[in-house]
């Protein structure tokens, strides 16, 4: 340690002899020594940047030129020198001067002639002090480096090397520097990673911007848009062609992508891909003046009118029949799909979606139903839609199938590959090989930017979707989240037979919308046919809510109780399933919808088909999520398409209210016993969860016999409703909820009376040791509404607990007493005074 305390000492003395002696003494002590005969020379040495820094100055006071005071002041006034300790050397008779020097800033003094031991001691402490200050300064300097490094990280100019020296320190600062280096390194790496993700994010941002700049009108079919713009109405009934295009196996792909990319990445990837596909498909539809009427999961149903509404100038440009335009469109859809530049693919999932397309022709009804405050629903109905149902099962991936009517209309156009006949009808279909003639596209006239009033557009968008669309939250664009799918099937509206079918349907849909909306659900799809119609509603999305499954089942039960005005509608069948589903807006750049799609959608539809008319079927998961709220009938397992094994199904019968459930429990239990036994249970329930057998028996009316009471108690015991508590005189209710349920089932007056009887009996039976039951007595008197007695017992119970050292309960009892007395009822002044 001592070796560390050698330093560079500057001796300043005009006296040569003194210098010589001091020089010798200091060298003997192992120091490096410089000397100066006056203050000016000393200052030059101190300021010399080349020279070894001076650690201590030994300073004589009386010198020519610059004397000791002058030099001392110069040193203390210099930023760089002021930390150098200065030891004054003086004669004994100069102590006055020394005091002055100490005031100026000298560290210490030595009297001449200098005692070597004192010199050594003074130097040692001065050097130690100097070292400490140097370390302090170095520390501060290096702290400065770390601070600078932190600033550099902020300004992204950080150099890891800048902390090398500080990091070598063994103290906390060194550790800080090392930790900082490590963190800065991590920050750097993360930055790199972030940059890599930036490209991906850029894509996402594009998507989002696209979504935000989206016009609300793309939620409306194109023909409707044109009609609104031209201030005309679409005809309720018209001829044309229906094109149906289904992206095969997309639901399966959802699960694969979800696994590969995780949530919600998988949902986003799927949506990105499906949007690309739909964009391409819709472009063809609009190119041939068709309109996407509905999205059904990953399929679209489009209408091509023989005489589509356009503005007058361009009217008459359409020469090709709807069937020809739709067929040309269908062929181009297949080509477009082949040419899609897929942006999305994971290492495991290969994207190879195909589409099935069908074109059917004929007259169709077109309805707009529903409450515009909630959402308008577009409905297409008629013979072509029925044929479509038959065609769906006959198409393979990559094919275009046309019905006989379309074929007949444009026979010259088609090169036919093969004919396919429906198995359960007379319908014949043809697979198109190629088109012999080119059908030129006849796109819709362009509408001006934001041609339609936003307030009109909103009628086609569910309010929750509209809100989300405005809130620009990225999560909303697509997400995998839990939701319940409800499919409702109904019959009895036939547009061919009933000219008021559209009005009836509108009324019925509005009523259903109201019921579903009240429960927080939304109707997503409506499919209408003379043989039966169905709607698809979702709960949990787009409106986020708790207990969406309960709400779904509740809504379903309510939907079975339609008002009398809809009596012509019958045969309702409802299916409900819930789980994770792909939710969000999707579709093409020019036509979009909001969807909730997943395997549970399919299952709900299957359950709907399997349900008996007038009933609801739910799956196991929905049953489990809602079993507390509804009474269910458990049905035999059924086999559904898409599920390898039979599945358990349940049918909700009615909702059980909370009060109902408790009441039911009490009544069911009491019904099993004789009136006397019931009375025993009722009294027991008033005493509490645990009750004394002797008090119980004592409380029964006098006219009944005691032996019988004992027998009754034994009977109840054997039933398992009550059981023996720790002490044979004490019994308790086996089910914790039962005591409360029975108690709640009593009339108020009856309860109050029983509490009073119990309090009196307890007072009577515990004459010798009432202090043990003060709390119970307080409770019963309180429930008997004799407040002053209750306050009295709470006070006693509090004092008793205090005596026993149970301060927690003591304070609780006193608090009860206080609460009761301050409630003011039945209180006499003497209570207040206490």
């Amino acid at each position: 340690m001592e070796s560390n305390l050698h330093g560079h000492i500057l001796v300043v003395d005009d006296n040569k002899l003194n210098r010589k002696l001091m020089l010798r003494l200091l060298k003997d002590l192992g120091h490096l020594v410089s000397q100066a005969e006056n203050g000016v020379v000393a200052l030059n040495i101190l300021r010399d940047p080349q020279a070894e820094a001076v650690d201590v100055v030994l300073l004589d006071i009386m010198m020519p030129e610059l004397d000791g005071y002058g030099l001392l002041e110069a040193i203390k006034g210099n930023e760089k020198l002021r930390n150098i300790p200065v030891i004054m050397t003086s004669a004994l008779d100069e102590l006055d001067s020394v005091v002055r020097c100490i005031e100026i800033g000298a560290t210490d003094y030595l009297t001449k002639p200098v005692q070597p031991s004192l010199l050594k001691a003074r130097l040692k402490s001065s050097l130690a002090e100097k070292r400490l200050r140097d370390l302090e300064l170095e520390y501060l300097e290096q702290v400065g480096y770390v601070v600078s490094a932190a600033e550099a990280v902020e300004t992204e100019s950080y150099e890891p090397e800048s902390l090398r020296h500080v990091a070598m320190r063994k103290d906390a600062l060194g550790r800080l520097a090392r930790v900082f280096q490590k963190m800065a390194q991590e920050v750097h790496l993360r930055e790199q990673r972030l940059k890599q993700q930036l490209a991906q994010l850029q894509l996402d941002i594009e998507d989002m911007q696209k979504a935000l700049s989206e016009k609300l009108e793309i939620y409306i079919p194109m023909d409707r848009r044109q009609a609104i713009y031209n201030e005309t109405e679409l005809p309720d009934f018209s001829t044309g062609a229906v094109l149906f295009a289904d992206i095969s196996d997309f639901t399966g792909l959802t699960n694969e992508l979800a696994e590969e990319f995780g949530h919600p990445r998988g949902a986003e990837e799927i949506t990105r891909l499906i949007n690309q596909i739909f964009s391409a498909l819709v472009e063809e539809v609009h190119g041939y003046r068709g309109s996407v009427i509905n999205f059904t999961g990953d399929a679209i149903t489009c209408w091509f009118d023989d005489h589509p509404i356009v503005n007058e100038v361009q009217d008459g440009t359409i020469t090709d029949a709807a069937g020809a335009r739709a067929s040309a469109c269908a062929m181009l859809m297949q080509t477009a799909l082949q040419n899609l530049p897929y942006r999305v693919s994971g290492p495991k999932t290969k994207m190879d979606p195909g589409i099935k397309v069908a074109v059917v022709s004929g007259p169709a009804f077109r309805y707009l139903v529903g409450d515009p405050k909630i959402q308008y629903l577009e409905v297409l109905v008629g013979r072509p839609l029925e044929k479509l149902e038959k065609a769906e099962g006959l198409i393979k991936r990559g094919e275009v199938l046309v019905d006989f009517e379309t074929f007949e209309q444009c026979a010259a156009l088609f090169a036919i590959k093969e004919q396919r006949n429906s198995l359960d009808s007379d319908d014949r279909f043809f697979v198109i090989e190629d088109l012999k003639t080119l059908i030129a596209p006849t796109p819709w006239p362009d509408l001006p930017d934001r041609a339609l009033d936003e307030n009109i557009c909103r009628n086609w968008i569910h309010p929750a979707v509209y809100r989300h669309a405005l809130s620009n939250t990225r999560q909303y664009l697509s997400d995998l989240r839990p939701a319940a799918a409800v499919f409702v099937y109904f019959k009895g509206i036939d547009p061919l037979m009933d000219s008021h079918a559209g009005i009836l349907l509108d009324g019925y849909i509005r009523w259903m919308q109201g019921v579903i909306d009240t429960q927080g659900g939304a109707i997503l799809q409506l499919s209408f046919g003379d043989k039966g119609s169905y709607l698809y509603a979702s709960f949990g999305a787009p409106v986020t809510q708790t207990e969406y499954a309960v709400r779904a089942v509740r809504a379903a039960l309510l939907l079975l109780q339609k008002p009398g005005g809809f009596n012509s509608i019958f045969g309702e069948q409802i299916g409900i399933s819930h789980g994770y589903m792909r939710t969000g807006t999707y579709g093409g750049d020019t036509r979009k919808t909001y969807g909730v799609i997943g395997s549970n959608t399919n299952l709900a539809a299957r359950l709907m088909q399997a349900a008996q008319p007038g009933t609801i079927l739910v799956d196991q998961e929905t049953y489990e999520a809602t079993a507390n709220s509804f009474e269910f009938t458990i049905l035999p397992e059924i086999t559904v398409k898409g599920r390898p094994a039979p599945i358990a199904v349940f049918s909700p019968v009615r909702e059980i209210g909370r009060e109902d459930r408790r009441q039911q429990l009490a009544l069911n239990t009491l019904d099993r016993f004789t009136p006397t036994q019931q009375m025993l249970l009722k009294i027991a329930s008033v005493i509490g969860q645990t009750f004394s057998r002797s008090i119980l028996v004592h409380l029964l009316p006098v006219e009944t016999e005691k032996e019988n009471h004992e027998r009754d108690v034994e009977h109840i015991l054997s039933s398992g409703v009550i059981q023996v508590a720790d002490d044979s005189d004490y019994l308790k209710f086996t089910q914790p909820g039962l005591q409360d349920a029975i108690y709640q089932s009593l009339l108020h007056a009856q309860r109050r009376h029983l509490h009073r009887q119990i309090a009196l009996t307890m007072e009577e039976l515990s004459m010798e040791t009432p202090q043990d039951i003060y709390p119970q007595l307080a409770h019963h008197w309180r429930a008997a509404e004799e407040i002053s007695r209750a306050v009295d017992y709470y006070d006693k119970a509090g004092k008793r607990a205090q005596e026993l050292g149970d301060l927690v309960n003591a304070s609780l009892f006193f608090k009860e007493s206080l609460t009761l007395s301050s409630s003011g009822s039945v209180l006499s002044k003497d209570y207040m005074d206490r």
């Binding site: 005009d14 006296n15 040569k16 002899l17 003194n18 010589k20 002696l21 010798r24 003494l25 003997d28 009386m62 020519p64 004669a91 008779d93 001449k112 002639p113 005692q115 070597p116």
Partner: protein, 117 residues
């Protein structure tokens, strides 16, 4: 070896403080011999010219140096001289200076003896 002019103890302590290096002590004493006449000369000329500061400083040095070697008498006289210089009343210094010069002669004789031993 006994001489009233110097305190042997001081001289011994000084020798001890430099590790008994007699050669170094001799060098110190020789420096004293070299410097001291100049100091006296300075005081004399200061008396003539009335330069009290010069007088004081020379006396101060001589006081300090003589004390180092245990020449307590000389040191005491020099201290008086220094005070005269400080007071500025140099007239009273002449006699005292003569006494100091006498003391120096004794001291130097004693020191010369000491280093020749």
């Amino acid at each position: 070896m006994t001489n009233n002019a110097i305190d042997q103890n001081v001289l011994n302590n000084l020798l001890e403080s430099v590790g008994g290096d007699l050669e170094f002590l001799r060098e110190l004493i020789e420096t004293f011999f070299d410097d001291s006449p100049g100091q006296f000369q300075a005081m004399e000329s200061a008396l003539e010219s009335g330069d009290a500061e010069l007088f004081r400083r020379a006396a101060h040095s001589l006081k300090s140096n003589s004390a180092s070697f245990g020449a307590l008498e000389l040191s005491k006289l020099c201290k008086s001289l220094e005070e005269i210089g400080k007071s500025g009343q140099l007239d009273s210094g002449k006699k005292l200076l003569a006494q100091a010069e006498a003391a120096y002669r004794e001291t130097s004789a004693a020191l010369a003896e000491y280093i020749n031993v």
